[in-house]
């Protein structure tokens, strides 16, 4: 391997993102054990450290936590995607200033390419401190030569207080690397889920080191090419690009590099609409709907001679949807907002996240009203009378099918709604 070209990829990950967003505007909750719940207040999707320590599990249904919650006074809040998307955009833009090559990976994670940066350690701490100071968001930074190792380094930064939120895998000796990888269970590797972990265990692969050193042909024969890529990434050979990231169930990504550079807004929009169509088709195929859309544009980071611009913007959808037309309108608006003349775009993409099953919400609605549309129209008229004409429109695109989403414990839209700005 060409040592001269060792990449320094930083994965910056927000700590307990949703809970941290809520706490920024509620200093009284700084030490309160708390969780944020998914759509319809169903499951725990973010936990404060206190809630983790009390044994609340990620993804656990909230009703299951009731005894624990009552015994320890755990506070539960509904998801406030408007707030989370705005805080995410702020964090991502700040991180983007540290490198022309940034890839926003999810609402609370971003890869930042720091290859060639002198004083990597200082820059990492500066990055962490700037995000904390400017937004109040605590983040951890993991640095590695590949995305998989950067992810792993981030895990180390999170788990070990001594790292003070920054861990650089590249700074380790070979012996230290081996010792570290031996201490981490293979389940912590990016893309290795519960099922794969079981199968790997059956083959005697328990630690990350085991996976790195596994017999390559046998591994490929048993687990396929994706696992081989993961292994090579652990061996410090970069082979996972953005578009190859297998989206987890909570996130659908549709993105591609363009055949030739794109400079025009209409062409970008056209490409995005294709990505939206693909992503929404996937959504519908798995019978889910998304609550947040994120759009990103990228210039060609290998063309150092060209000006670089890689923006990303997330917004909450007014209602969770899987409707191509609705999502497309948003992708369009986001693209317009980010687009700048004078750049040659190499890649664009759409990310749909905060997915929830469709059937659940439609069921609630239908049960609550007799068949036919008359009741629905009455409800619309009532809402329009109450909230002003045009507050709710009949949409042929079904944008409002989830309007009764339960959000009983939602915080105000502190940063996106004039009527909701915090009072001091």
């Amino acid at each position: 391997m060409a040592r001269a070209h060792v990449q320094a990829l930083a994965l910056v990950d927000c700590n307990n993102f949703y809970v941290s967003c809520e706490r920024i505007f509620r200093p009284d909750l700084a030490r309160v054990p708390m969780v944020v719940l998914s759509n319809n207040d169903g499951c725990v999707v973010s936990r404060s450290n206190e809630a983790k320590a009390l044994g609340v599990k990620m993804g656990q249904p909230w009703f299951e936590c009731q005894p624990l919650a009552q015994a320890h006074g755990i506070l539960a809040m509904s998801s406030n995607y408007a707030l989370y998307a705005d805080m995410s955009n702020r964090v991502m833009r700040i991180l983007g200033e540290f490198s022309p090559n940034q890839e926003v990976y999810s609402i609370d994670e971003s890869f930042v390419d720091l290859t060639g940066t002198p004083n990597l350690r200082e820059v990492s701490y500066a990055m962490r401190e700037r995000v904390r100071m400017w937004t109040g968001m605590p983040v951890c930074v993991g640095i590695g030569p590949t995305k998989t190792l950067a992810k792993l380094a981030n895990h180390v930064a999170k788990k070990h207080p001594r790292s003070q939120g920054v861990f650089n895998y590249n700074a380790l000796t070979d012996a230290q690397k081996a010792a570290l990888l031996q201490r981490i269970p293979v389940s912590e590797v990016w893309g290795v889920g519960r099922k794969l972990t079981q199968r790997l265990l059956a083959h005697g692969v328990e630690t990350v080191l085991d996976l790195r050193e596994a017999h390559i042909p046998s591994l490929r024969a048993e687990f396929g090419v994706v696992m081989e890529k993961t292994q090579r990434e652990l061996q410090e050979t970069p082979c996972i690009q953005m578009e190859e990231v297998a989206a987890d169930k909570q996130q659908i990504i549709a993105s591609r590099s363009f055949g030739s550079m794109v400079t025009d807004l209409p062409v970008l929009k056209d490409a995005l609409s294709t990505f939206v169509a693909n992503a929404c088709a996937k959504l519908r195929a798995q019978n889910s709907q998304a609550a947040v859309i994120q759009v990103f544009l990228q210039t060609n980071r290998f063309r150092k001679d060209l000006p670089q611009y890689s923006p990303s913007l997330a917004v909450p959808l007014p209602q969770p949807t899987h409707d191509t037309l609705v999502v497309n309108r948003w992708a369009d608006a986001l693209c317009e907002r980010m687009f700048r003349e004078g750049y040659q775009y190499k890649k664009a993409g759409v990310m749909l996240s905060e997915l929830s099953p469709v059937t659940h919400q439609q069921g609630d609605w239908l049960e609550a009203s007799p068949p036919g549309h008359s009741k629905l129209m009455q409800a619309l008229d009532h809402l329009n009378a109450r909230y002003g004409r045009g507050a709710v429109k009949v949409s042929t695109q079904g944008a409002y099918q989830g309007w009764q989403m339960r959000q009983e414990r939602k915080s105000p839209n502190y940063t996106t709604d004039w009527d909701d700005v915090p009072v001091v």
Binding site: R93, W134, V315, V423
Partner: protein
Amino acid sequence: MTTSAISLPQPVCVPETKLWLDMCAWTVRAGFPSPAADHTRKRIDLNEHLIRNKEATFIFRVKGDSMSGIGIYEGDELLVDRSIEAKHGNIVLAVLNDDFTVKRLYRRGGVVKLIAENPLYPPITLKDGEELLIWGVVTRNLHKLY
């Protein structure tokens, strides 16, 4: 606009909404058309003018009258910039005993105080064991006149 539980399908992102005003290079004389009317220069972006760091700026609404002496009244909207290191004399949004408060920061000779701009409110001197956190520095007050 009424706060409604139903949001309209419009992207919301407060800090980036541009507000254009014409900036003119001449003084206005009532009743006489200016011959310089064609020389309108570039338009002012109010966001750019008011917000020095949009990633770090947040909006808060004032409750109470403890700062009325410097023209900060109940219902006013404050722009709070987290990227500024608070100095002695700045108007700050502070967190004291888990609560937000807007005051003037006094920091001299090892003494830290939060000073109200209203004689009805005595200065708050930090007691032993009390923790003061500066959330951000207040950079602007948006006071409605109409």
